[in-house]
Amino acid sequence: MTTKPVIAPSNEDTLSRRGFFMKLGILFNGFAAMVLAVPVVGFLLSSVTRGRASGYLSWVPLGRIDEFPEGETRLATFRNPNVMPTDGKTVDTACWVRRVAGEKFQVFAINCAHLGCPVRWFPQSGLFMCPCHGGAYYRDGARASGPPERGLFEYPYKVENGLVTIQAGELPTPGAAIASLTGEKPPCA
């Protein structure tokens, strides 16, 4: 509806019937695009939103407690809790389990805190070494030298019915703000 008087159709101010329908058509298509955008964006971001809603982390067993001798650090593997049919072997993950004493453990991610390469444990020198850029860590996971800015990532663990269980499910990365993975206490704790 326009309050201006209808004059010659060539005038820019007027809205012809065709022009009106074209604008309506554009509007209608815009609406359709918006309706379509909701599922498309939702689908594209599903890997992010899923993580935020229910979380990817869950408790997975590593093995019986007597498989890990006291005072030693052993390699353990576990299957990532979320498995898709096309994952193949990529869902099998390794981690370093250090049994400090009794039921006191430290479970380190295999990924170097620098750029995620797999660190190797050298019991003789008590060091974890990274083959990529030469990061090194002490037996308790603390940074020893090299480019990493922090110690190794640690999984939260518990010992139940003689089983060592860790909370896993996400690739540990330097930027991940997951307090449980950083091995540091959240600021409020």
């Binding site: 994952d87 072997k89 990529t90 030469g134 703000a177």
Partner: protein, 494 residues
């Protein structure tokens, strides 16, 4: 023959493409652009087409599934007739494409072709470079092996450092919480649909603009580009002394394109396909992942930067470089085109080339990486043990067993992360050696908790023997003095 002409005319009556194609082919170009320096753009296009064809051929067999990609590559290498050759062509084609795109870019820059009115052609070229690098990285992921797996981990670790949204970016990139089947699938979609689609569109625009604006004339020192007059000058040049692109200039493009294809085929034939290396099984940790050739410089950079600078460098550096490349034609859109009158341009190109070349060379033998097997694999040369005491030999054992060798070389074998120790006794006194071993520092871990006093004594005794025969070991003069005074005192005492 008449029939073929008639069929051709029948089609052209309906398509009406012959006239515009002829016009494009025969458009006049400056005579001096019929040069071997002007063949890299068409060569890049040729290799791109080759990549499209070999890529489609590979897709006939390849399975983009985390569980099967690796074995489908094995099948291509060993079971399917000539599968190895098509893989090798695609892999070598990728290396050639990155190289030719870079050479093309340098040539365009040194010939001032990015200046008015070809700014947009340059900007689109920058995007084409980024897409080419994107294809190279996603292509490395397609070869779903150990290097691809850990390379993705490195990519995720870098992405995670973006402030606030880092963790979300990682999940978006990986298609889930970990590197798995969904990761490969989305990189497949990028490598096969998204980036090639954009490449085709942008290459089309890039070539269209070369046709519309004309190829850059050979730069003459002193011939200044001015916005007001350039186009009139260029058109006068092509009108008066130009020559039709076909066949005057095109034959060099054709020769070079054929040469490049044959060179790729020769590399493919002699060197074969790239990998795949070990299976993408994250429980196999005996691996030292390395990126493909064109990202080796980044690998070196990430080892050599101080840790605190790394994240800002990674997150701010690339956007700055890309912005600089995009802004370049707008900041220097006029003026001299010839490299002979643009010393800063030449020096910049040389600096970048030397830097990237040095980093790439360094990354080929990774002096910063510990040699994981040196402690058990590289023996101490005889001459270092010959004529030593029992304590010193025990120290040599400690030296091997405590993995010192992984980072320190002796007799040119062992890691290069730390300094070579062949003459360490000349540099450090006994006390300094003890301090360095126990407390570490200067990028060396502290071994205090892992060495007993006896082991430390033996180790330092061995290290003190490491000096050239013609040079005596370092001594602490003050310590000697104090000790001699003590001995003198005890000698005088009854």
């Amino acid at each position: 023959m008449r029939l073929i002409t008639q069929i051709g005319e029948w089609f052209d009556h309906r398509l009406q493409l012959a006239a515009p194609i002829r016009e494009a082919a025969e458009h006049p170009v400056p005579r001096n652009t019929a040069s071997w320096f002007y063949v890299f753009g068409s060569a890049a296009l040729t290799v791109f087409l080759l990549q499209l064809v070999t890529g489609i051929l590979l897709a006939l067999i390849y399975v983009p599934s985390g569980g099967e990609a690796w074995s489908s590559l094995q099948a291509l290498n060993h079971q399917v007739a000539l599968g190895w050759f098509i893989r090798a062509m695609h892999g070598w084609g990728s290396n050639f494409m990155v190289a030719i795109v870079l050479i093309h870019m340098v040539q365009v820059f040194l010939f001032g072709a990015h200046k008015y009115p070809r700014e947009l052609t340059w900007v689109i070229g920058v995007f084409l470079l980024l897409m080419t690098l994107g294809m190279a990285f996603t292509g490395q992921v397609m070869r779903f092996d150990q290097d691809a797996y850990w390379g993705l981990g490195i990519g995720a670790s870098i992405a995670s450092r973006v402030p606030i949204i880092g963790p979300a970016v990682v999940k978006l990139m990986l298609g889930g919480p970990i590197i798995a089947g969904a990761t490969l699938s989305r990189f497949f979609a990028l490598h096969v649909f998204v980036i090639p689609g954009m490449l085709i569109a942008f290459v089309g625009l890039h070539v269209l603009m070369v046709l519309k604006l004309g190829i850059n004339e050979w730069p003459m020192p002193g011939r200044i580009v001015k916005r007001a007059t350039y186009e009139a000058e260029y058109h006068a040049m092509t009108r008066n002394e130009g020559a039709p692109f076909v066949p005057y200039a095109v034959w060099k493009d054709m020769f070079f394109a054929a040469f490049i294809i044959l060179a790729i085929a020769a590399c493919a034939y002699y060197f074969g396909p790239f990998g795949p290396t070990g299976q993408p099984d994250p429980t196999i940790i005996q691996t030292a992942p390395k990126p493909d050739y064109f990202f080796l410089w980044l690998y070196a950079l990430l080892s050599l930067l101080p840790p605190s600078l790394e994240t800002p460098f990674l997150l701010i550096g690339p956007p700055l470089v890309i912005l600089g490349l995009i802004l370049l034609p707008f900041l220097s859109g006029e003026g001299e085109k010839s490299w002979k009158r643009r010393p800063i341009a030449v020096i910049t190109v040389l600096m970048i080339a030397i830097t990237l070349g040095t980093f790439t060379r360094l990354a080929q033998f990774t002096p910063w990486s510990p040699h994981m097997n040196a402690w058990s694999g590289d023996p101490i040369p005889d001459r270092y043990i010959h004529g030593t005491t029992a304590l010193e030999r025990q120290g040599a054992l400690v030296f091997q067993v405590k993995q010192c060798r992984n980072c320190h070389s002796i007799g040119n074998t062992g890691g290069q992360r730390g300094p070579a120790l062949d003459s360490v006794a000349v540099r450090l006194t006994r006390d300094q050696l003890i301090r360095q071993v126990i407390q570490g520092g200067g990028n060396m871990p502290a071994y205090g908790n892992n060495l007993s006093p006896a082991e430390t004594t033996a180790l330092v005794a061995f290290l003190e023997t490491l000096h050239p025969a013609t040079q005596s070991p370092a001594r602490d003069g003050a310590r000697d003095l104090v000790l001699s005074e003590n001995t003198a005192k005890s000698a005088t005492q009854p």
